[in-house]
C-alpha cells in the first residue's frame, strides 16, 4: 500500500468549484438557500480547520487532561443538542437523557478502545476519532427517539386519557410508545449495517484505506465500530426512554401530560 498523497492548498481550493455547481443548480431550481449554502461552507471550513489545529496540538502533546476535556465537551455538546431540539421534556426526563448519553457513550468508548482495539484510553489517535463516531451516533439516535416519543405523546393525548380513565396503568399506556420510539431510532443504524460494503464504503474505512491501511485491517475496524455504534444507540436510547417515561406519571398514576 502507498502512503496517502498530500494535497497542496492550490489543489485543495479547486474543490470549491463544485460549490459553484451546487449554487447554479439551486438557482435554476429556485431553491432560496444560497445564504445557507454559503454559511454552511464557511462554517465547515473554519470548524474543521480549527479542529485540525487542535488535534495536531493534542497529538503532538498527548496528555490525559486533553482527552478528558475533549470527551467532556463532546458529551456536553451532544446532551445540549438533544435537549435544545426537544423542548417537551420535563426536568427528570432531561436528567435521564443526559445520564444515558453520558454513561452509555463513555462506557462503549472505554470498552472499544481498551478491549477491542487494545490501546490506552488516553491515546488521542484512537480515542478522539472513535469517540466522535460513537458519541455522535448516540446523539443522533437519542435525538430521533425523543422527537418520536414527544410527537407520539402529543398525538395520542385522547387515547392516553381514555385508557387512563378505563383503569389502565400509565406503564401499559406509555410502553408501546417507548418501544415504537426505540425502534424508530434503531432503524437507521440497522439499515446502514445492511447496506454497508455494497451500497457504500463507510467513511472510516475509506479514510483508513486512503491513508495506506490494508483493506483487511480497515474492514475489521469498520465492522467493530458499526457494532459499537449499534450498541451505543440501543443503550443510550433505551436508557433515555425507559428512565425518562417513568418521570411522566406519579405514584397516584396521574399523567403529567394530560
Amino acid at each position: 500500500m502507498r502512503e496517502i498523497a498530500s494535497i497542496s492548498i492550490i489543489q485543495f481550493s479547486i474543490v470549491y468549484i463544485l460549490l459553484l455547481v451546487v449554487l447554479a443548480v439551486m438557482k435554476k431550481a429556485k431553491i432560496n438557500q444560497t445564504k445557507l449554502l454559503f454559511v454552511a461552507s464557511v462554517r465547515l471550513t473554519l470548524q474543521l480547520t480549527l479542529a485540525g489545529f487542535i488535534l495536531t496540538y493534542i497529538f503532538e502533546n498527548p496528555h490525559p487532561i486533553f482527552i478528558l476535556m475533549y470527551l467532556t465537551s463532546m458529551i456536553l455538546f451532544a446532551i445540549h443538542r438533544v435537549l435544545s431540539k426537544n423542548k417537551c421534556m420535563n426536568r427528570g426526563f432531561k436528567i435521564a437523557v443526559s445520564l444515558s448519553l453520558a454513561c452509555s457513550g463513555l462506557g462503549i468508548v472505554i470498552f472499544f478502545v481498551t478491549a477491542v482495539v487494545g490501546q490506552s484510553i488516553f491515546d488521542p489517535q484512537y480515542v478522539i476519532p472513535l469517540s466522535g463516531m460513537i458519541i455522535g451516533n448516540a446523539m443522533t439516535g437519542v435525538n430521533l427517539a425523543t422527537k418520536t416519543f414527544c410527537e407520539s405523546l402529543s398525538e395520542k393525548r385522547q387515547q392516553m386519557e381514555s385508557l387512563l380513565n378505563l383503569g389502565v396503568t400509565p406503564q401499559k399506556i406509555l410502553l408501546p410508545m417507548v418501544n415504537q420510539a426505540l425502534e424508530t431510532a434503531m432503524l437507521p443504524t440497522l439499515n446502514s449495517m445492511l447496506g454497508m460494503g455494497i451500497v457504500s464504503l463507510p467513511g472510516m474505512m475509506t479514510g483508513q484505506i486512503l491513508s495506506g491501511t490494508l483493506p483487511t485491517t480497515a474492514i475489521l475496524y469498520q465492522i467493530s465500530i458499526m457494532i459499537a455504534i449499534c450498541a451505543v444507540v440501543c443503550l443510550s436510547v433505551f436508557g433515555s426512554l425507559y428512565f425518562g417515561y417513568k418521570t411522566l406519571y406519579n405514584s397516584r398514576n396521574q399523567l403529567f401530560y394530560l
Binding site: 386519557e161 381514555s162 380513565n165 383503569g167 389502565v168 396521574q254
Partner: protein, 195 residues
C-alpha cells in the same frame, strides 16, 4: 382555582351535574376518579378517602367516559377487543357487544369501521364500550354533546333504565338542563366560583 360546595352522590341513582362553562364540572369527575388531585379537601368513596384507595382499582370501579371520544382505527368489534385487551379481559361475545350498542342507540353492524362514522355515532359507540365494563359508578361527561335530540333521549333513557336494573350509580355532567330534569334523580347545580 375552583371551589366546590360539599357534594353527596346517592348510590344507585342518576345524578346530573349542571352548571355554566368553566365552573369545574369535568374537573369534578377527574377528581372523583383520581386522574387529578385536589389542592385541599377530601373525597370519600364507600366511606374511604380516595387518597387511600389504589387509583387503578378506583378508576375501574368509577369509570369516567370523557367528552373527547377516542376510538382505535378499525371496526367496532376490534375496538371492543382492543379496549378489553388493555384491561387484560376477554372481550365480550358479539351478542353482548350488540346489547350495549343497542342501549346506547348505536345499533350499527360490528364490522362498521369507526373512522367512517360521524361524531355522534362515534360518541355512542365509545359510551357503549365503556358501559360494557359494568362499573359500580359510571360517570358521563357531556354524553350527548354530539347527538341529536332523538338519539340523546333514547340513549339517556336506556342508560338510566340499565343503571337502575343493575344498581349502577350514574353521574352525568351536562349543560342541558332539560336533559337533567328529565333523567336525573338528583341535580347538583354548580356555580362558577369567585376568585
Amino acid at each position: 382555582m375552583i371551589r366546590y360546595p360539599n357534594i353527596k352522590i346517592a348510590k344507585g341513582k342518576t345524578t346530573f351535574i349542571h352548571g355554566p362553562s368553566g365552573c369545574g364540572k369535568s374537573t369534578l369527575l377527574k377528581l372523583i376518579n383520581g386522574t387529578t388531585s385536589p389542592d385541599s379537601g377530601e373525597i370519600f368513596y364507600k366511606g374511604n378517602n380516595i387518597e387511600n384507595i389504589d387509583t387503578i382499582d378506583l378508576r375501574r370501579e368509577i369509570l369516567l367516559v370523557a367528552q373527547s371520544v377516542f376510538l382505535f382505527t378499525g371496526t367496532i368489534e376490534e375496538n371492543f377487543k382492543k379496549y378489553y385487551e388493555y384491561r387484560d379481559h376477554d372481550a365480550p361475545s358479539k351478542e353482548e357487544m350488540e346489547k350495549f350498542l343497542k342501549i346506547c342507540s348505536a345499533e350499527f353492524p360490528l364490522e362498521t369501521r369507526c373512522e367512517t362514522m360521524s361524531g355522534g355515532e362515534r360518541q355512542r359507540v365509545y359510551i357503549a364500550i365503556f358501559l360494557s365494563f359494568m362499573p359500580d359508578v359510571l360517570m358521563l361527561d357531556e354524553p350527548t354533546s354530539a347527538l341529536d335530540n332523538t338519539s340523546s333521549d333514547i340513549m339517556m333513557s336506556n342508560i338510566k333504565n340499565f343503571s337502575k336494573d343493575n344498581e349502577m350509580t350514574t353521574i352525568v355532567v351536562s349543560h342541558y338542563l332539560t336533559l337533567a330534569e328529565k333523567y336525573g334523580d338528583e341535580i347538583i347545580a354548580l356555580e362558577r366560583s369567585k376568585q
